[in-house]
Subunit: 258 residues, 3 copies
Amino acid sequence: MSNIKIKILDKEIASIIIDESKTYNALSFRNLGDLIKAFKKLDNDKNVKVIIIEGAGKSFSAGHNLKEVSGLKKKAKYQKLFNLCSKLMLQIVEGKKPVLAKVHGAAFAAGCQLVASCDLAYSTNDAIFATPGVNIGLFCSTPMVAVSRKINRKIMMKMLLTGDPIKAKYAKEIGLINDCFAKSQLDKEVLKVAKIIASKSKLTIKIGKQTFYKQLEMPLKKAYAYTSKMMTKNMMTMDAKEGISAFLEKRKPKWKHK
Amino acid sequence: MSNIKIKILDKEIASIIIDESKTYNALSFRNLGDLIKAFKKLDNDKNVKVIIIEGAGKSFSAGHNLKEVSGLKKKAKYQKLFNLCSKLMLQIVEGKKPVLAKVHGAAFAAGCQLVASCDLAYSTNDAIFATPGVNIGLFCSTPMVAVSRKINRKIMMKMLLTGDPIKAKYAKEIGLINDCFAKSQLDKEVLKVAKIIASKSKLTIKIGKQTFYKQLEMPLKKAYAYTSKMMTKNMMTMDAKEGISAFLEKRKPKWKHK
Amino acid sequence: MSNIKIKILDKEIASIIIDESKTYNALSFRNLGDLIKAFKKLDNDKNVKVIIIEGAGKSFSAGHNLKEVSGLKKKAKYQKLFNLCSKLMLQIVEGKKPVLAKVHGAAFAAGCQLVASCDLAYSTNDAIFATPGVNIGLFCSTPMVAVSRKINRKIMMKMLLTGDPIKAKYAKEIGLINDCFAKSQLDKEVLKVAKIIASKSKLTIKIGKQTFYKQLEMPLKKAYAYTSKMMTKNMMTMDAKEGISAFLEKRKPKWKHK
């Protein structure tokens, strides 16, 4: 049985739960593969509009499974592991639906990368985040791809060179997470944000999310040419026409997600 | 008569005012075209050193004119509208002179993009900023080009996915604006900054502004090669020689803007 | 005798001191050349794991030597000066070892660039930072390459267009430096961070530092392909195997730096 569970929180909001508490939800070969499958499944599920990712037990995720890593031995296997992990992160970024990280306990190494890769992230007040690979002689080189695109470079370097964890409140200050809450409030607060997003047009958000990450990698002029084209495409959808009509008629829009 | 007015605040400081309060200074085809003309005119006006952009009435700008948008119908017309809007933003970024946004009330969608596109931005304490396109089924895809190059990605995504507005104080914290002031102080404070900038060499600032945005899009090594060349060019101007002489002689420089 | 001194603070931690207090440690042709030599020397010194850069006397560094600049006259000489300065900054970024700036007094223009170019930076509480070239008609075009890759664009533009200095506490808030301390505590605090970094594997940090700056300039997908390759390479080192074994055996790792 897979350690990756899917739970429907609200009709349009699904949660992916990494449920292997004995390894602190380590991102093993198996869990990575199952996570990719779960994200793909929900991305293609017509009823789901928002995806939440969380961990069972004491922590969000401790990153790679070091026992497994230790036994791989061969270069080709390591390459395969890091490629699979990158594939998961790209699946989240390139997917159609917003992904929210709901974090408690520790989000370390690839676990921290997972948080950084999500569109939004929320945590408990006592959650901690780290890229501690340097402590085991294995620099957090793939995790830093995601984290360094979210936070300031000098703060990132401090985390990478010392391996020291940072606290939720500081993670919010530097933009690694959107907000943090008391443990008892986290579920409710994340659901609140998810419901707001789920109330929008699925098609609009799909176009927007995919356009967002692509334009970020373009020079300004090209980004404007690209987004102008995508916004025109968006404008031709039924939902944009309905949304604008509803706004002008001062009524709630009825999305057809088309 | 055009809704875009030009006002000379101080001999070398000009303000462009969007004056169509009934539409909350919407960026219609006409206003966009007139804004581009106004920016070009001031950019070529030898007496003007700093440009301020502001809105008349209750708000800075509500973004596109949804009534107009609603009536366009044809794909080619939407494409034309978004292209024209992008052209305005590029005019500000690629222009020779510093542009300061002076914001009150709401700066929404393309209005928020306009703020983000300026070199500096100041607002009243009660100003609000949003990329609310998602609420009308039309994701703020062109606005996010400007805003996402100024603020953290997760904060940006929260604004884009929920459409929720943010307040001036928070906009300052995240770097969308430089500062915010009491309504009664804003004019004075913006003028203070504009006067400081107007006291510098126009030529130096022209070289600097244009070099700034270009180098941002280059990899580090190329950026150094390019800026070293531009700094050498700057060094050969009369104003750099005068500025350095004045500094060594402990006197005020007399700019020739050459 | 050179103004650039090397001091061994702790067996594995070396400090480069710019010691020309009469020019506020200006980055003259000679000092730039000697700094490059010093960084190269320490980068190749097998005993050194962390490099600190600091200034003697009242300030960290005032930037270029304006008296020297004033006397250069010829375009080719200016080009040579700015190229040499860029070469120093690239040496720090592309070097194998972490570089920590320890700043007191003023870090202006190329001095501010030097701080921004280091992996980490710490200062006294009363240190100030500026890109004031605009005041002498010479825009800080090369300094902004380093600074604009660390801090928000609007904040950077304010510094560039006004030339106004910012204080240490604010420099920390915006991510130009990592932290600031009372003058009496700075040495101790920087040494503390340096020692933590020196306790890691030199080879791991070399791979990590070099991978960090390279991946930052790549689009996401390419960055993942590159870092996955580098992390695999890192995994095949003795130190990664030792680090993971030590972790699993709950003991301290013994680095071989291989």
